[in-house]
Protein backbone atom coordinates (compact mmCIF):
# COMPACT_ATOMS: atom_id res chain seq x y z
CA UNK A 1 0.00 0.00 0.00
CA UNK A 2 1.25 3.47 -0.82
CA UNK A 3 2.25 5.74 2.07
CA UNK A 4 1.07 8.94 0.41
CA UNK A 5 -2.04 8.67 -1.78
CA UNK A 6 -3.25 11.76 -3.57
CA UNK A 7 -6.40 11.33 -5.60
CA UNK A 8 -7.67 13.94 -8.12
CA UNK A 9 -6.43 16.79 -5.93
CA UNK A 10 -7.55 20.30 -6.87
CA UNK A 11 -6.42 23.53 -5.25
CA UNK A 12 -8.18 26.82 -6.00
CA UNK A 13 -6.89 30.16 -4.74
CA UNK A 14 -8.88 33.34 -4.87
CA UNK A 15 -6.80 36.17 -6.27
CA UNK A 16 -8.37 39.61 -6.73
CA UNK A 17 -11.85 38.10 -6.46
CA UNK A 18 -11.23 35.55 -9.21
CA UNK A 19 -10.65 31.85 -8.61
CA UNK A 20 -7.25 30.65 -9.77
CA UNK A 21 -6.96 26.89 -10.19
CA UNK A 22 -3.39 26.10 -9.24
CA UNK A 23 -3.77 22.32 -9.22
CA UNK A 24 -6.32 20.54 -11.41
CA UNK A 25 -7.11 16.93 -10.55
CA UNK A 26 -3.63 15.56 -9.92
CA UNK A 27 -3.27 11.97 -8.64
CA UNK A 28 -0.12 10.29 -7.40
CA UNK A 29 1.04 7.53 -5.06
CA UNK A 30 4.30 7.37 -3.15
CA UNK A 31 5.40 4.09 -1.59
CA UNK A 32 7.06 3.78 1.80
CA UNK A 33 10.77 4.58 1.46
CA UNK A 34 10.41 5.88 -2.07
CA UNK A 35 11.73 9.18 -3.37
CA UNK A 36 9.22 10.80 -5.66
CA UNK A 37 9.83 13.90 -7.73
CA UNK A 38 7.50 16.58 -9.04
CA UNK A 39 8.94 18.47 -11.99
CA UNK A 40 7.64 21.37 -13.98
CA UNK A 41 8.17 25.00 -14.82
CA UNK A 42 7.38 27.82 -12.38
CA UNK A 43 3.66 28.07 -11.69
CA UNK A 44 2.92 24.49 -12.67
CA UNK A 45 1.44 23.83 -9.23
CA UNK A 46 4.11 21.47 -7.93
CA UNK A 47 4.90 23.42 -4.74
CA UNK A 48 1.19 23.93 -4.19
CA UNK A 49 0.73 20.16 -3.86
CA UNK A 50 3.25 20.12 -1.00
CA UNK A 51 1.56 23.05 0.66
CA UNK A 52 -1.83 21.35 0.27
CA UNK A 53 -0.48 18.30 2.08
CA UNK A 54 0.66 20.54 4.93
CA UNK A 55 -2.68 22.30 5.11
CA UNK A 56 -1.14 25.58 3.90
CA UNK A 57 -3.17 25.73 0.65
CA UNK A 58 -6.95 25.58 0.14
CA UNK A 59 -7.95 22.16 -1.18
CA UNK A 60 -11.06 22.43 -3.36
CA UNK A 61 -11.42 18.81 -4.45
CA UNK A 62 -9.95 15.35 -4.20
CA UNK A 63 -8.41 13.57 -1.23
CA UNK A 64 -4.99 13.25 0.38
CA UNK A 65 -4.34 10.14 2.47
CA UNK A 66 -1.24 9.32 4.44
CA UNK A 67 -0.83 5.74 5.60
CA UNK A 68 -4.38 5.11 4.44
CA UNK A 69 -5.86 7.77 6.73
CA UNK A 70 -7.43 10.97 5.43
CA UNK A 71 -5.72 14.05 6.94
CA UNK A 72 -7.51 15.79 9.81
CA UNK A 73 -8.40 19.49 9.78
CA UNK A 74 -6.47 21.24 11.30
CA UNK A 75 -3.52 18.93 10.81
CA UNK A 76 -2.79 18.23 14.50
CA UNK A 77 0.29 17.03 16.41
CA UNK A 78 0.29 13.50 15.00
CA UNK A 79 0.68 14.91 11.49
CA UNK A 80 3.63 17.08 12.59
CA UNK A 81 5.45 14.00 13.83
CA UNK A 82 4.83 12.16 10.58
CA UNK A 83 5.34 14.81 7.89
CA UNK A 84 7.82 17.69 7.84
CA UNK A 85 8.93 20.05 5.13
CA UNK A 86 12.17 21.66 3.97
CA UNK A 87 11.52 25.00 2.32
CA UNK A 88 13.07 26.40 -0.79
CA UNK A 89 14.81 29.48 0.51
CA UNK A 90 16.93 28.94 3.63
CA UNK A 91 17.25 32.71 3.96
CA UNK A 92 13.49 32.96 4.56
CA UNK A 93 12.75 29.75 6.40
CA UNK A 94 14.80 30.37 9.56
CA UNK A 95 13.60 32.92 12.12
CA UNK A 96 16.12 35.80 11.87
CA UNK A 97 15.99 36.54 15.59
CA UNK A 98 16.24 33.01 16.92
CA UNK A 99 19.50 31.20 17.47
CA UNK A 100 19.99 27.84 15.77
CA UNK A 101 19.49 26.33 19.21
CA UNK A 102 16.08 27.97 19.58
CA UNK A 103 15.05 26.96 16.05
CA UNK A 104 15.95 23.34 16.67
CA UNK A 105 14.56 23.05 20.20
CA UNK A 106 11.23 24.70 19.37
CA UNK A 107 9.63 21.53 17.90
CA UNK A 108 10.78 19.61 20.98
CA UNK A 109 9.16 22.20 23.26
CA UNK A 110 5.93 22.11 21.27
CA UNK A 111 5.65 18.36 21.55
CA UNK A 112 6.89 18.18 25.12
CA UNK A 113 9.93 16.09 24.23
CA UNK A 114 12.67 16.34 26.82
CA UNK A 115 16.41 15.81 26.61
CA UNK A 116 16.73 18.97 24.50
CA UNK A 117 20.49 19.52 24.84
CA UNK A 118 21.45 16.08 23.68
CA UNK A 119 18.93 16.01 20.82
CA UNK A 120 19.99 19.41 19.47
CA UNK A 121 23.70 18.50 19.51
CA UNK A 122 22.89 15.18 17.87
CA UNK A 123 20.78 16.91 15.18
CA UNK A 124 23.63 19.31 14.34
CA UNK A 125 25.99 16.38 14.14
CA UNK A 126 23.62 14.44 11.87
CA UNK A 127 23.55 17.20 9.27
CA UNK A 128 27.30 17.74 9.46
CA UNK A 129 27.42 21.04 11.33
CA UNK A 130 29.98 21.60 14.11
CA UNK A 131 28.52 21.83 17.63
CA UNK A 132 29.79 25.40 18.11
CA UNK A 133 27.20 26.58 15.56
CA UNK A 134 24.50 25.92 18.11
CA UNK A 135 24.16 29.45 19.48
CA UNK A 136 24.75 31.33 16.27
CA UNK A 137 22.11 33.35 14.50
CA UNK A 138 21.06 32.52 10.93
CA UNK A 139 22.77 35.61 9.53
CA UNK A 140 26.09 34.23 10.75
CA UNK A 141 25.65 31.16 8.51
CA UNK A 142 26.08 30.60 4.78
CA UNK A 143 23.20 29.48 2.58
CA UNK A 144 24.26 25.86 2.58
CA UNK A 145 24.70 25.84 6.35
CA UNK A 146 21.28 27.39 6.80
CA UNK A 147 19.71 24.73 4.63
CA UNK A 148 21.41 22.10 6.78
CA UNK A 149 19.82 23.71 9.82
CA UNK A 150 16.45 23.66 8.05
CA UNK A 151 16.91 19.95 7.30
CA UNK A 152 17.91 19.31 10.93
CA UNK A 153 14.80 21.17 12.09
CA UNK A 154 12.58 19.10 9.81
CA UNK A 155 14.08 15.93 11.29
CA UNK A 156 13.77 16.95 14.96
CA UNK A 157 10.40 15.26 15.30
CA UNK A 158 11.67 12.13 13.53
CA UNK A 159 9.05 12.20 10.75
CA UNK A 160 8.73 9.38 8.23
CA UNK A 161 7.93 11.69 5.31
CA UNK A 162 9.96 14.68 4.23
CA UNK A 163 8.49 17.16 1.77
CA UNK A 164 11.27 18.97 -0.10
CA UNK A 165 10.34 22.17 -1.87
CA UNK A 166 13.25 22.84 -4.24
CA UNK A 167 15.69 22.40 -1.37
CA UNK A 168 18.76 23.39 -3.39
CA UNK A 169 17.57 25.94 -5.91
CA UNK A 170 18.61 28.88 -3.71
CA UNK A 171 22.12 27.48 -3.18
CA UNK A 172 25.40 27.71 -5.07
CA UNK A 173 26.10 24.86 -7.48
CA UNK A 174 28.95 23.56 -5.32
CA UNK A 175 26.77 23.46 -2.20
CA UNK A 176 23.83 21.91 -4.05
CA UNK A 177 25.56 18.56 -4.50
CA UNK A 178 26.61 18.44 -0.84
CA UNK A 179 23.07 19.14 0.30
CA UNK A 180 21.58 16.53 -2.02
CA UNK A 181 24.09 13.95 -0.84
CA UNK A 182 23.22 14.78 2.75
CA UNK A 183 19.53 14.26 1.99
CA UNK A 184 20.26 10.95 0.26
CA UNK A 185 22.35 9.77 3.20
CA UNK A 186 19.66 10.69 5.73
CA UNK A 187 17.04 8.94 3.64
CA UNK A 188 19.11 5.77 3.55
CA UNK A 189 19.88 5.93 7.28
CA UNK A 190 16.37 6.63 8.46
CA UNK A 191 14.25 5.01 5.80
CA UNK A 192 12.59 8.32 4.97
CA UNK A 193 10.07 8.84 2.21
CA UNK A 194 10.73 11.90 0.05
CA UNK A 195 8.27 13.91 -1.96
CA UNK A 196 10.44 16.41 -3.76
CA UNK A 197 9.70 19.36 -5.97
CA UNK A 198 12.18 20.73 -8.46
CA UNK A 199 12.33 22.43 -11.81
CA UNK A 200 15.77 20.96 -12.31
CA UNK A 201 15.78 17.51 -13.92
CA UNK A 202 19.43 17.02 -12.98
CA UNK A 203 18.53 17.29 -9.28
CA UNK A 204 15.53 15.03 -9.73
CA UNK A 205 17.60 12.47 -11.59
CA UNK A 206 20.12 12.42 -8.76
CA UNK A 207 17.46 12.02 -6.07
CA UNK A 208 14.27 10.39 -7.25
CA UNK A 209 13.02 6.91 -8.10
CA UNK A 210 10.00 8.14 -9.98
CA UNK A 211 8.95 11.53 -11.29
CA UNK A 212 5.76 13.25 -12.29
CA UNK A 213 5.99 15.98 -14.91
CA UNK A 214 3.50 18.78 -14.37
CA UNK A 215 2.36 21.69 -16.50
CA UNK A 216 -0.34 24.32 -15.83
CA UNK A 217 -1.53 22.51 -12.71
CA UNK A 218 -2.01 19.18 -14.45
CA UNK A 219 -0.06 15.94 -14.45
CA UNK A 220 1.55 15.49 -17.86
CA UNK A 221 3.50 12.27 -17.53
CA UNK A 222 4.81 9.95 -14.83
CA UNK A 223 8.03 8.12 -15.51
CA UNK A 224 10.54 6.03 -13.55
CA UNK A 225 14.19 7.02 -13.30
CA UNK A 226 15.29 4.47 -15.90
CA UNK A 227 13.02 6.03 -18.47
CA UNK A 228 14.42 9.46 -17.60
CA UNK A 229 17.96 8.22 -17.98
CA UNK A 230 17.16 6.73 -21.40
CA UNK A 231 15.19 9.85 -22.38
CA UNK A 232 12.08 7.80 -23.08
CA UNK A 233 9.39 10.45 -22.68
CA UNK A 234 6.04 10.07 -24.29
CA UNK A 235 4.98 13.69 -24.28
CA UNK A 236 6.52 16.67 -26.02
CA UNK A 237 6.49 18.81 -22.91
CA UNK A 238 8.48 16.30 -20.86
CA UNK A 239 10.94 15.98 -23.75
CA UNK A 240 11.45 19.75 -24.01
CA UNK A 241 11.96 19.97 -20.25
CA UNK A 242 14.51 17.19 -20.50
CA UNK A 243 16.28 18.88 -23.40
CA UNK A 244 16.61 22.07 -21.34
CA UNK A 245 18.69 20.38 -18.63
CA UNK A 246 20.12 17.43 -20.55
CA UNK A 247 23.65 18.79 -20.95
CA UNK A 248 24.01 19.31 -17.20
CA UNK A 249 22.70 15.83 -16.50
CA UNK A 250 25.20 14.26 -18.84
CA UNK A 251 27.97 16.31 -17.26
CA UNK A 252 27.00 15.19 -13.75
Amino acid sequence: MALIEIDTLSVTFTAKGRPVRAVKGVSLNVAQGESYGLVGESGSGKSTILRAICGLAPVSGGTIRIGGQPLPHPRGPAFSRQVQMVFQDPYASLHPRHTIDRTLSEPLAIHGIGNTDQRVTQALNDVGLPPNFRFRFPHQLSGGQRQRVAIARALMLEPSILLLDEPTSALDASVQAETLNLLNRLRAERGLTFLMVSHDLAVIDHMCDRILVMQHGQAVEELPREALARAEMKTDYARSLFAASADRMLGA
Binding site: L56, M85, A92, H95, P107, F133, F135
Partner: protein
Protein backbone atom coordinates in the same frame (compact mmCIF):
# COMPACT_ATOMS: atom_id res chain seq x y z
CA UNK B 1 38.05 44.26 29.64
CA UNK B 2 39.62 42.73 26.54
CA UNK B 3 38.59 39.25 27.65
CA UNK B 4 35.03 40.52 28.09
CA UNK B 5 34.91 42.01 24.58
CA UNK B 6 36.47 38.84 23.18
CA UNK B 7 33.80 36.83 24.98
CA UNK B 8 31.08 39.10 23.57
CA UNK B 9 32.46 39.00 20.04
CA UNK B 10 33.00 35.24 19.97
CA UNK B 11 31.47 34.08 16.67
CA UNK B 12 30.59 30.72 18.23
CA UNK B 13 28.93 31.44 21.54
CA UNK B 14 28.60 28.55 23.94
CA UNK B 15 25.38 29.52 25.69
CA UNK B 16 22.09 31.22 25.02
CA UNK B 17 23.09 34.14 27.26
CA UNK B 18 26.39 34.72 25.51
CA UNK B 19 24.64 34.69 22.11
CA UNK B 20 22.10 37.26 23.24
CA UNK B 21 24.64 39.51 24.97
CA UNK B 22 26.88 39.28 21.91
CA UNK B 23 24.08 40.54 19.69
CA UNK B 24 23.33 43.35 22.13
CA UNK B 25 27.00 44.29 22.12
CA UNK B 26 27.05 44.48 18.32
CA UNK B 27 23.91 46.65 18.38
CA UNK B 28 25.63 48.89 20.94
CA UNK B 29 28.68 49.24 18.69
CA UNK B 30 26.43 50.25 15.82
CA UNK B 31 24.57 52.76 18.03
CA UNK B 32 27.88 54.17 19.27
CA UNK B 33 28.85 55.13 15.72
CA UNK B 34 25.83 57.46 15.52
CA UNK B 35 26.90 60.67 17.24
CA UNK B 36 23.42 62.25 17.42
CA UNK B 37 22.01 59.12 19.01
CA UNK B 38 24.75 59.22 21.62
CA UNK B 39 23.81 62.83 22.41
CA UNK B 40 20.20 61.68 22.79
CA UNK B 41 21.27 58.79 24.99
CA UNK B 42 23.35 61.16 27.13
CA UNK B 43 20.34 63.46 27.63
CA UNK B 44 18.09 60.56 28.59
CA UNK B 45 20.76 59.13 30.90
CA UNK B 46 21.19 62.55 32.49
CA UNK B 47 17.42 62.75 33.05
CA UNK B 48 17.46 59.37 34.77
CA UNK B 49 20.46 60.24 36.94
CA UNK B 50 19.01 63.61 37.93
CA UNK B 51 15.66 62.03 38.75
CA UNK B 52 17.31 59.31 40.81
CA UNK B 53 19.40 61.74 42.82
CA UNK B 54 16.86 64.60 42.92
CA UNK B 55 16.48 65.04 46.71
CA UNK B 56 20.26 65.16 47.18
CA UNK B 57 21.26 67.45 44.33
CA UNK B 58 18.42 69.98 44.48
CA UNK B 59 19.94 73.08 46.19
CA UNK B 60 16.65 74.22 47.74
CA UNK B 61 13.35 72.74 48.83
CA UNK B 62 11.10 72.80 45.73
CA UNK B 63 7.88 73.42 47.64
CA UNK B 64 8.69 75.73 50.58
CA UNK B 65 7.76 79.30 49.70
CA UNK B 66 10.01 82.31 50.30
CA UNK B 67 8.01 85.35 49.33
CA UNK B 68 10.89 87.76 50.04
CA UNK B 69 12.84 86.18 47.20
CA UNK B 70 10.07 85.95 44.65
CA UNK B 71 10.76 86.44 40.93
CA UNK B 72 14.53 86.70 41.24
CA UNK B 73 16.17 86.75 37.77
CA UNK B 74 18.52 83.99 36.63
CA UNK B 75 22.15 84.05 37.83
CA UNK B 76 21.11 85.52 41.19
CA UNK B 77 23.53 84.08 43.76
CA UNK B 78 21.94 80.90 45.18
CA UNK B 79 19.33 80.75 42.42
CA UNK B 80 21.09 80.08 39.13
CA UNK B 81 17.87 79.82 37.14
CA UNK B 82 15.98 82.39 39.20
CA UNK B 83 12.90 81.96 41.37
CA UNK B 84 9.19 81.81 40.63
CA UNK B 85 6.27 83.84 41.92
CA UNK B 86 6.37 82.12 45.32
CA UNK B 87 10.14 82.55 45.66
CA UNK B 88 10.85 78.86 45.00
CA UNK B 89 14.15 78.01 43.31
CA UNK B 90 13.37 77.07 39.67
CA UNK B 91 16.42 74.81 39.31
CA UNK B 92 15.33 72.78 42.33
CA UNK B 93 11.80 72.52 40.99
CA UNK B 94 13.09 71.35 37.59
CA UNK B 95 15.32 68.75 39.25
CA UNK B 96 12.54 67.36 41.44
CA UNK B 97 10.04 67.71 38.59
CA UNK B 98 12.20 65.42 36.45
CA UNK B 99 11.01 62.60 38.71
CA UNK B 100 7.40 63.30 37.78
CA UNK B 101 8.25 63.48 34.09
CA UNK B 102 10.23 60.26 34.24
CA UNK B 103 7.48 58.55 36.23
CA UNK B 104 4.87 59.48 33.62
CA UNK B 105 7.12 58.44 30.73
CA UNK B 106 7.97 55.13 32.37
CA UNK B 107 4.36 54.25 33.17
CA UNK B 108 3.16 55.14 29.69
CA UNK B 109 6.09 53.32 28.11
CA UNK B 110 5.34 50.04 29.88
CA UNK B 111 1.56 50.08 29.36
CA UNK B 112 0.57 51.56 26.01
CA UNK B 113 3.12 49.79 23.76
CA UNK B 114 2.50 46.40 25.38
CA UNK B 115 -1.24 46.74 24.95
CA UNK B 116 -0.87 48.00 21.38
CA UNK B 117 1.57 45.21 20.56
CA UNK B 118 -0.85 42.54 21.76
CA UNK B 119 -3.83 44.02 19.90
CA UNK B 120 -1.84 44.54 16.70
CA UNK B 121 -0.21 41.10 16.55
CA UNK B 122 -3.45 39.29 17.37
CA UNK B 123 -5.36 41.27 14.74
CA UNK B 124 -2.65 40.78 12.13
CA UNK B 125 -2.14 37.08 12.81
CA UNK B 126 -5.77 35.97 12.82
CA UNK B 127 -7.03 38.36 10.15
CA UNK B 128 -10.71 38.22 9.12
CA UNK B 129 -13.28 39.20 11.74
CA UNK B 130 -10.81 39.48 14.61
CA UNK B 131 -8.78 41.93 12.56
CA UNK B 132 -11.86 43.95 11.52
CA UNK B 133 -13.17 44.32 15.07
CA UNK B 134 -9.83 45.13 16.71
CA UNK B 135 -8.74 47.53 14.00
CA UNK B 136 -12.07 49.39 13.91
CA UNK B 137 -11.77 49.92 17.69
CA UNK B 138 -8.25 51.21 17.05
CA UNK B 139 -9.61 53.53 14.35
CA UNK B 140 -12.17 54.94 16.77
CA UNK B 141 -9.40 55.85 19.21
CA UNK B 142 -7.26 57.25 16.41
CA UNK B 143 -10.13 59.40 15.14
CA UNK B 144 -9.96 61.67 18.19
CA UNK B 145 -7.10 64.11 18.58
CA UNK B 146 -4.91 62.71 21.35
CA UNK B 147 -4.93 65.72 23.63
CA UNK B 148 -8.71 66.21 23.35
CA UNK B 149 -9.37 62.59 24.25
CA UNK B 150 -6.92 62.78 27.14
CA UNK B 151 -8.64 65.97 28.35
CA UNK B 152 -12.04 64.30 28.19
CA UNK B 153 -10.77 61.29 30.11
CA UNK B 154 -9.14 63.39 32.82
CA UNK B 155 -12.27 65.50 33.06
CA UNK B 156 -14.24 62.33 33.73
CA UNK B 157 -11.71 60.64 36.00
CA UNK B 158 -10.73 63.80 37.86
CA UNK B 159 -7.36 65.61 37.81
CA UNK B 160 -4.23 63.99 39.20
CA UNK B 161 -1.06 62.32 38.09
CA UNK B 162 -2.37 58.72 38.01
CA UNK B 163 -5.37 59.72 35.92
CA UNK B 164 -3.16 61.76 33.60
CA UNK B 165 -0.98 58.69 33.04
CA UNK B 166 -4.03 56.54 32.46
CA UNK B 167 -5.45 59.04 29.98
CA UNK B 168 -2.16 59.30 28.10
CA UNK B 169 -1.78 55.51 27.97
CA UNK B 170 -5.32 55.00 26.71
CA UNK B 171 -4.87 57.59 23.99
CA UNK B 172 -1.42 56.49 22.84
CA UNK B 173 -1.76 52.73 22.25
CA UNK B 174 -3.46 52.80 18.81
CA UNK B 175 -0.36 53.77 16.79
CA UNK B 176 1.52 50.85 18.35
CA UNK B 177 -1.29 48.50 17.38
CA UNK B 178 -1.06 49.81 13.83
CA UNK B 179 2.72 49.39 13.66
CA UNK B 180 2.55 45.89 15.17
CA UNK B 181 -0.22 44.81 12.81
CA UNK B 182 1.63 46.07 9.74
CA UNK B 183 4.76 44.23 10.86
CA UNK B 184 2.74 41.08 11.58
CA UNK B 185 1.22 41.11 8.10
CA UNK B 186 4.65 41.12 6.51
CA UNK B 187 5.85 38.29 8.74
CA UNK B 188 2.91 35.95 9.07
CA UNK B 189 3.13 34.41 5.59
CA UNK B 190 6.87 33.90 5.77
CA UNK B 191 8.37 30.43 5.54
CA UNK B 192 9.65 30.43 9.10
CA UNK B 193 6.15 30.95 10.44
CA UNK B 194 4.87 28.22 8.08
CA UNK B 195 7.64 25.97 9.40
CA UNK B 196 6.74 26.43 13.05
CA UNK B 197 3.06 26.03 12.25
CA UNK B 198 3.90 22.80 10.49
CA UNK B 199 5.62 21.67 13.67
CA UNK B 200 2.27 21.95 15.40
CA UNK B 201 2.72 25.24 17.27
CA UNK B 202 -0.45 26.93 18.51
CA UNK B 203 -1.45 30.53 17.83
CA UNK B 204 -0.33 31.78 21.24
CA UNK B 205 3.16 30.31 20.86
CA UNK B 206 3.51 31.65 17.31
CA UNK B 207 2.37 35.17 18.23
CA UNK B 208 4.38 35.37 21.44
CA UNK B 209 7.56 33.58 20.44
CA UNK B 210 7.83 34.17 16.72
CA UNK B 211 5.83 37.22 15.62
CA UNK B 212 6.32 39.58 18.57
CA UNK B 213 10.13 39.49 18.42
CA UNK B 214 9.85 40.73 14.84
CA UNK B 215 7.51 43.59 15.83
CA UNK B 216 9.36 44.76 18.94
CA UNK B 217 12.11 46.77 17.20
CA UNK B 218 9.65 48.96 15.27
CA UNK B 219 7.56 49.40 18.41
CA UNK B 220 10.60 50.41 20.48
CA UNK B 221 11.59 52.97 17.85
CA UNK B 222 8.05 54.30 17.83
CA UNK B 223 8.05 54.50 21.65
CA UNK B 224 11.22 56.56 21.86
CA UNK B 225 9.97 58.88 19.11
CA UNK B 226 6.60 59.20 20.88
CA UNK B 227 8.10 59.96 24.28
CA UNK B 228 8.53 63.59 23.28
CA UNK B 229 4.80 63.70 22.52
CA UNK B 230 3.98 62.03 25.85
CA UNK B 231 6.02 64.63 27.72
CA UNK B 232 4.21 67.38 25.83
CA UNK B 233 0.75 65.93 26.55
CA UNK B 234 1.62 65.48 30.23
CA UNK B 235 2.87 69.07 30.24
CA UNK B 236 -0.26 70.17 28.38
CA UNK B 237 -2.49 68.53 30.95
CA UNK B 238 -0.40 70.11 33.70
CA UNK B 239 -0.61 73.47 31.95
CA UNK B 240 -4.41 73.23 31.88
CA UNK B 241 -4.46 72.23 35.53
CA UNK B 242 -5.71 68.72 34.81
CA UNK B 243 -2.51 66.80 35.42
CA UNK B 244 -0.23 66.90 38.40
CA UNK B 245 -1.63 69.25 41.01
CA UNK B 246 0.22 72.17 42.69
CA UNK B 247 2.46 72.49 44.56
CA UNK B 248 4.09 69.50 42.88
CA UNK B 249 6.76 70.84 40.50
CA UNK B 250 5.48 69.42 37.22
CA UNK B 251 7.09 71.13 34.22
CA UNK B 252 3.86 71.85 32.33
CA UNK B 253 2.21 73.27 35.41
CA UNK B 254 5.31 75.43 35.97
CA UNK B 255 4.96 76.91 32.49
CA UNK B 256 1.32 77.56 33.21
CA UNK B 257 2.21 79.40 36.42
CA UNK B 258 4.83 81.46 34.62
CA UNK B 259 2.44 82.55 31.89
CA UNK B 260 1.27 85.55 33.93
CA UNK B 261 4.81 86.93 34.11
CA UNK B 262 5.89 86.00 30.59
CA UNK B 263 6.82 89.53 29.48
CA UNK B 264 8.52 90.89 32.59
CA UNK B 265 9.84 87.73 34.29
CA UNK B 266 10.39 85.53 31.22
CA UNK B 267 12.51 82.92 33.01
CA UNK B 268 9.65 81.54 35.09
CA UNK B 269 8.00 79.96 32.04
CA UNK B 270 11.09 79.62 29.85
CA UNK B 271 13.19 77.40 32.12
CA UNK B 272 10.69 74.53 32.36
CA UNK B 273 10.03 75.02 28.64
CA UNK B 274 13.73 74.50 27.98
CA UNK B 275 13.71 71.38 30.14
CA UNK B 276 10.79 69.92 28.16
CA UNK B 277 12.50 70.85 24.92
CA UNK B 278 15.82 69.26 25.84
CA UNK B 279 14.29 66.01 27.11
CA UNK B 280 12.02 65.74 24.05
CA UNK B 281 15.01 66.34 21.80
CA UNK B 282 16.97 63.68 23.66
CA UNK B 283 14.28 61.05 23.13
CA UNK B 284 13.89 62.00 19.48
CA UNK B 285 17.61 61.74 18.75
CA UNK B 286 17.79 58.42 20.57
CA UNK B 287 14.77 57.13 18.67
CA UNK B 288 16.32 58.06 15.34
CA UNK B 289 19.52 56.27 16.28
CA UNK B 290 17.65 53.18 17.47
CA UNK B 291 15.80 53.06 14.20
CA UNK B 292 19.10 52.62 12.38
CA UNK B 293 20.24 49.94 14.79
CA UNK B 294 17.10 47.93 15.44
CA UNK B 295 15.28 48.08 12.15
CA UNK B 296 15.03 44.46 11.01
CA UNK B 297 15.62 45.54 7.43
CA UNK B 298 19.08 46.74 8.41
CA UNK B 299 20.15 43.82 10.55
CA UNK B 300 22.68 41.36 9.26
CA UNK B 301 24.57 43.99 7.33
Amino acid sequence: MTTLTAWLRDPSPTSRRQARLGQAYLAWLRLKRNRLAMIGLAIVALLIIVAALAPWIAPHDPITQALRERLQPPLTPGHILGTDDFGRDILSRLIVGSRITLFIIALVAVTAPVFGLIIGTVAGYFGGWTDEILMRITDIFLAFPKLILALALVAVLGPGMENAVLAIAITSWPPYARVARAETLTVRNSDYIAAVRLQGAGAARIIWGHIMPMCIPSVIIRVTLDMAGVILIAAGLGFLGLGVQPPMPEWGAMISAGRKYLFEQWWVATMPGMAIFIVSLGFNLLGDGLRDVLDPRNSGK
